[in-house]
Point group: C2
């Protein structure tokens, strides 16, 4: 059976998730990224052979080591740095592993759960793509040693599906609500508060006194900080 | 095997989906509701025994008849009219059918697809609940003749799960991105334009010259009308 090697690319802990600013301070956004990474790791670590965090940022790489993860320091690229970094990581894997498949996950999907992991394990012979809110890709599972070109960025879900077809791959589109919920906006935090009771991220947000209520305005959820 | 009777409650065609105003005019919002209903019907009609549209609105009931659906005229209730209407419809079903299960779906989930329907058929012995964006419920499948009390409204997903536990039911939480996407905001229209290529709703929105682009502001999608 193929070993599953997971790549989690993280650009930086500093000044990221800016759409959550000024709702969360910079240090809170850094902490949020850390707890979200912990959640994804705790849900997959018993089921995959290796987890490799890729980054250019030493702070990220050191934190990944602290969590006992493997790290891959990204090279400088002039353009399309996320996809080039992932391609580099896949090349690194091809030189260091045999009989592997590659699962690429973002670090900001704390609702990814054990049922999601079970689905991947059960369908590990398939080439799997899972959509995110807004047309992106929240899981790309390359089931064997294809020279498959990652195409993350705007509307990547459709690009990934097309690229798979161009490679004559039979795509398994994994339709999951929990996996679709990456965290970019205050409303996304609301979804985590609603659905993520057992997560590190939920505990962190609760400790910041962030609350959520149902809303009938332009957004479905009203997310707020208590006592402010 | 149980017959599946589907209830689709629709409050009104007029002046509904107000969060889409002024992006869509009132008549456009009415047409949108009609095409979304067509989509859900076309995806389920070959797989369920009966589809019953419940409403107080004669216009809705007449349109449902035009689509060859069954109709159930809601009684007046002083409060909690959606849940009372659904309870009335379940009572009606209990008097007119044997060996049935009840599937309750909203009329505004045009991405509900044949794979979603297959999942329900495959798991038709389970009690099934599916989350919507914002804490709601987009599918409630009552697998036999329980006296199960619907609890639609704010954060109904969690109320439905709790109510099932109170009834000692083993809940199958159906985790689906496409099923989670009910249509309430312009951004939701963007998701339909991205993922709903084969739907009546997609065609209708395209004919209105509505477009979608990726966005990095407060929302993931920028939805706009061309030439305006």
């Amino acid at each position: 059976m193929n070993k599953i090697i997971t790549i989690i690319p993280i650009s930086s802990f500093n000044n990221s998730k800016t759409r959550l600013s000024p709702f969360l301070s910079e240090s809170e956004r850094t902490n949020l990224l850390k707890v979200m990474l912990k959640d994804i790791v705790s849900n997959i670590q018993d089921h995959v052979s290796d987890i490799i965090v890729t980054s250019k940022d030493e702070y990220v790489l050191n934190y990944a080591k602290y969590l006992n993860l493997n790290v891959f320091k990204e090279k400088e690229h002039e353009h399309d740095f996320l996809n080039n970094a992932i391609s580099d990581a896949i090349s690194y894997i091809s030189k260091n592993y045999d009989n592997y498949s590659v699962m690429i996950l973002p670090a900001d999907i704390p609702l990814f759960n054990s049922r999601n992991m079970k689905y991947i394990l059960k369908n590990r012979d398939d080439f799997i793509i899972s959509p995110s809110k807004g047309g992106g890709t929240n899981l790309l599972y390359i089931n064997r040693e294809y020279n498959y070109k990652p195409l993350f960025g705007a509307f990547s879900f459709f690009k990934h599906v097309q690229e798979a077809k161009n490679n004559n791959l039979d795509v398994n589109i994994y339709d999951s609500f929990y996996l679709s919920l990456d965290v970019n906006t205050p409303e996304d935090l609301g979804e985590i508060l609603l659905h993520g009771r057992n997560t590190h991220t939920y505990n962190y947000l609760s400790n910041l006194n962030i609350g959520v209520e149902s809303n009938h305005g332009k957004e479905r959820l009203y997310v707020y900080r208590k006592n402010e």
